[in-house]
């Protein structure tokens, strides 16, 4: 292996355009030289941005480094370039599994297994994920916002017809305002769409409301749904998109589990 690493290093030094970075990066990764592997893979991906294998390699290295977000981005890039690629599908399947998102994990692993039916690691992983999925209790999953720390009464998911799906909002006096707010927000997505279409603004992403007593953000985490998050007036406006993103992840996960 050391001889090969030396050979690939020499090859890359002599010809920086060489694809030997793929083998060199992978060899360094397998030997645990993750910093070196990352540097090699990054240079390769920069030189060959349309090469799916380069992004797949980056995904594996980031995953080994425990950098889940970066691995996710790299594998997503790889699949954008080459949708039927086993490595990134498998990688994403494992990532989702680690996050506890079993439904998505199963989907990625199933797609990978269909492309590589003889891969024993895939069949074992898929069996494990399916076993855990089957072990989940019957009935709808718990409300995604009920247990989230500090989120009770401040985050609500509703459908486009103004009906509450999960979570809820409370008035400052503690009274449940969920249904009243949901009803008044029915059709707001359609209105936002109409406004952005008329103004050539593309697709609406979020509506931020900044008030004297509270801030709100509305997003559409999945088709035909609306997510409302409220926070106190001391919350910096710049944090609202981050809070909404996290709430959106929970909403999508919950919707998938509900089916």
């Amino acid at each position: 292996m050391t001889d090969q690493i030396t050979r690939w290093t020499a090859e890359l030094t002599a010809d920086p355009d060489s694809l030997a970075f793929l083998q060199l990066g992978e060899a360094l990764r397998r030997r645990g030289h993750l910093d070196g592997a990352l540097a090699v893979a990054r240079r390769g991906a920069t030189r060959y941005p349309d090469l799916a294998e380069a992004h797949d390699l980056l995904g594996r290295i980031h995953s080994d480094r425990g950098e889940g977000d970066a691995a996710f981005d790299a594998w997503t890039d790889a699949l954008r370039l080459q949708p039927e690629m086993v490595g990134p599908l498998k990688g994403l399947g494992f990532l989702y599994f680690r996050l506890g998102d079993l439904a998505r994990s199963a989907r990625q692993l199933e797609a990978a297994a269909a492309l590589a039916p003889g891969d024993p690691t895939l069949s074992v992983a898929l069996a494990r994920v399916r076993e855990q999925l089957g072990a989940q209790p019957d009935g709808p999953p718990p409300d995604p916002y009920a247990e989230a720390e500090g989120w009770a009464g401040t985050t609500m998911l509703l459908d486009v017809r103004g009906r509450r799906l999960a979570g809820g909002l409370r008035r400052p006096d503690g009274v449940d305002a969920s249904d009243a707010v949901a009803a008044r927000l029915a059709g707001v997505s359609r209105e936002a769409n109409r406004a952005t279409r008329l103004l050539d603004l593309g697709l609406w992403q979020a509506v931020y409301l900044e008030g004297r007593t509270a801030h709100f953000v509305l997003t559409e985490p999945a088709e035909d749904t609306l997510l409302v998050v409220s926070r106190g007036p001391d919350t910096p406006p710049g944090r609202m998109p981050l809070i909404a993103d996290r709430a959106g992840v929970l909403a999508r996960r919950w919707l998938e589990q509900v089916g």
Binding site: L169, R171, P172, D173, V175, A177, A180, V181, A183, R184, L185, G187, V188, E191, A192, R194, A195, T196, L198, L199, D200, L201, G202, L203, W204, Q205, A206, V207, Y208, L209, E210, G211, R212, T213, A214, F216, V228, S230, P237
Partner: protein, 116 residues
């Protein structure tokens, strides 16, 4: 059209990335004043902004909160900002996507304060 109102709107339009600004009657969505509305038809923008602001204000009131001082509709290719002023007026700005949202926010809130 009042020189003062036009001056308020032109101040907003001086912020980089702002495509246009207008002053709208919140109650009926009619244009009170406008500035630099490049390629935009002010009347429907005003009507939509007023309708959106009204719906969102009803929602925040249902939640037991004050009416929003600022509404920011973020889209993939731009944004619509609405500041609620005194006397039933809305200040509306349409922007490019890469605008400095912080500056537009300050400009609108400042302008809304001047209308009080």
């Amino acid at each position: 059209m009042s020189t003062f109102l036009v001056e308020v709107l032109e101040t907003i339009c001086r912020t980089d990335g702002v495509r246009g600004a207008l002053l709208v009657s919140a109650e009926d969505g009619l244009v009170v004043a406008e500035a630099a509305m490049e390629g935009l038809d002010a009347a429907p923008v005003a009507a939509l902004a007023a309708s959106l602001a009204s719906r969102l204000t009803l929602a925040t009131e249902a939640a037991g909160q004050s009416q929003p001082a600022l509404i920011h509709l973020e889209a993939t290719e731009g944004a619509l900002f609405i500041a609620t002023g005194e006397a039933g007026l809305l200040l509306v700005a349409v922007t490019e996507p890469d605008v400095n949202a912080g500056l537009v926010r300050l400009a609108l809130l400042d302008a809304a304060g001047r209308l009080a």
